[in-house]
Amino acid sequence: MSFDPNKEDYQRLGLRYARTLDPSDPFATARAFATFSRRFSQSRDSLPQSDGDRAFHLVTKATDLIDYQLPFAPDEECGPIMDEAARVLEEAIDLDPSCHDAVRMRAAADYGSFEGYYQYLSKGADAVRQDCVARHDEALANGHDEGRVLEAELAMMPYVRWMSTLAAKALICGHYTRCLSICLDLIGDDPSDPSDVRFTGALACAKLEDASALDRLGSLSHAAARHDDSEDGWLLLARIALAHKSHDLELARELVSRCLSAYPHAGITLSRQDELPDGVFARLAVPAFSEDELIIAVSEATVVLEEGRDSSDLGSLGSWIAHEPAVVASCEQDPESSALVSLDTGRN
């Protein structure tokens, strides 16, 4: 579920700002909008905003700290970054105790185990849904302008993110049926699948070895598919897993080569199989079909790749993919890979 919190922050304030303008004076409105972007980035406090808007803005700050700075920070900076993020989230919750994103993100740090966080999210889900649905309905009922549909959509997003996070944790914890049912419910609510939860669902189908559920997931979320005829990394990895699990190695090989041609530097990504921390706000926002997207897909697929007995740490499928001749060849032929090798050697 890739969400850009800055975009949402911008949309929230834009909607509120639009409400303050006089619709009977189109010229003044046009002038006002011309200055909105500048005011948003340079003098945000001069714009009208609620405590909820201020809290969400703090969520964007915390997201930047935890999801985009922390993974790349040197060790000595990690502690201060986490402290700052915790402080910012605390401030957000003080401003708006029903800022579900802030509450959810703060809780992520409170639980030492995946299961504990999963249980927490699971218990809170109904209340978050009720609150978001109430706001959604209120936006639709009270708004008279064009913005009301967007406002209603935005009102649901904290719930969508809550449930997508729950699905991701269910996958990691081994609650695969639950994971798949959350994904199907979310897609049933909104087939455009704003959180891309179908990616998580595809991995649950692989874990459940349920090819027909994978097809069902695909047909339900067809509105969200990004290209007519190309498959994303998650779907490809799920289908590779299903083929490997039914020992159809020829099909698995064909799917691996599709993955190699769909993503840049896929050979390196499929050999390394790095596991990264999940985004705490949401899945990191990266361009579709980019190298980074496959890195994230492979990282999320760790639960699928590393299962089974294998003397390497890669697991049964992980080891098979890493040693697959097409992957090895693609890795060796990639100029980026020699840079990586020399980096590794340098480290040793």
Binding site: S113, F114, E115, G116, S122, I172, C173, G174, H175, Y176, T177, R178, L208, E209, H244, K245, S246, H247, V303, E307, G308, R309, D310, S311, G315, S316, L317, S319, W320
Partner: protein
């Protein structure tokens, strides 16, 4: 594997075929005679090959008695030597009878490759055997296990299903077990045990329940542990807690085995016999379930937090003088 028993029966049945019908008493006398000296009844190359395997398995089984006294390095060296001796014996058996299924099966297993590669070897073997002998066909009410000459093929299937479990191929493991149970409803090879774990991992509650009912709900360590895993995975903690208590109370040292899993040697060629409800049984079960337990990362922490579970493990360890 009761190689000795099978050898005696095979030789006796072949001798019976050559000498003509015998009364029940006559056949039991023949069995005793073969048991006393199987070598002189192993008339053809097939039985000589089987004899070779039987003798090696007996010898190597006796040789494992001192393994507990070896340190890790010594054990690994001894293990390599042992696997080497078995591989050589398999070669001798295959020189006598290139179609000896048990020799081929053992060769695959002592090649000691990654489970993924072992599965490839086993599937190839199964394919070759099916090409040569056709499918295993049993009529209604028949059990393939009763035909001693079919048992090697059933062992290959059981090894395939266990290796599927080891390589995270749970659907394949379950279907291979269920077809094995169809061919041999008495399930001497314990396919139901592997199936229980696979169905739990797939969160297939209906399949698990059907399997349990098919064996008249006579639980065993595998079904007890599989039930706990299934309920935990389906996020039904209260029921999982009850199942966990059941697992610990029905399997001697169950809590200890789960919290302190130990190394279990490769099955050569099938799961060693153990007494129902014994610590040996639950040790094998926990070892087989390991990939599934690991796949559910907070399962062990959850189990050890359940009231009385860790204490039960501690009491068992104290009683037997094991480390906790």
């Amino acid at each position: 594997m009761d190689a000795r028993g099978e050898l005696v029966r095979r030789c006796a049945l072949k001798r019976l075929a050559s000498i003509g019908p015998l009364s029940k008493e006559g056949f039991s006398e023949l069995l005793s005679a073969v048991a006393a000296d199987p070598r002189s009844f192993a008339d053809d190359a097939e039985e000589q090959a089987f004899l070779e395997i039987e003798q090696t398995l007996e010898k190597e089984r006796a040789a494992t008695a001192g393994d507990d006294l070896l340190d890790d390095d010594e054990y690994q060296r001894e293990r390599r030597r042992r696997f080497g001796r078995i591989a050589t014996s398999c070669d001798r058996a295959l020189a006598l009878d290139p179609t000896c299924i048990d020799a081929r099966l053992l060769s695959c297993l002592v090649a000691d490759q990654e489970p993924d590669a072992t599965l490839g070897l086993l599937l190839e073997l199964d394919h070759d055997v099916a090409d040569q002998h056709g499918a295993i066909v049993t009529s209604e009410g028949e059990d393939a296990w009763d035909d001693v000459f079919l048992r090697p093929r059933l062992r290959v299937r059981a090894a395939i299903s266990r290796t599927c479990l080891d390589t995270a191929r749970y659907r394949m493991a379950a279907s291979s077990c269920l077809s094995l149970i169809d061919a041999s409803p008495t399930d001497a090879l314990g396919a139901r045990l592997t199936a229980a774990l696979a169905l739990a991992r797939l969160e297939d509650e209906t399949g698990f329940d059907e399997l349990d009912a098919r064996f008249l709900r006579q639980g065993n360590a595998w079904s007890h542990l599989a039930r706990v895993l299934l309920l935990f995975k389906l996020d039904r903690p209260a029921a999982a807690r009850r199942a966990l208590r059941g697992f610990d109370s029905l399997c001697t040292g169950g809590a200890y085995a789960l919290l302190r899993p130990t190394y279990v040697e490769t099955y050569l060629p099938d799961r060693p016999q153990s007494k129902p409800g014994s610590f040996e049984e639950v040790t094998l079960c926990v070892h087989e379930a390991d990939p599934i337990v690991v796949d559910t990362p907070d399962f062990i922490p959850w189990a050890s937090e359940q009231p009385g579970f860790a204490e039960s493990a501690g009491r068992f360890a104290d009683r037997l003088g094991y480390d906790m």
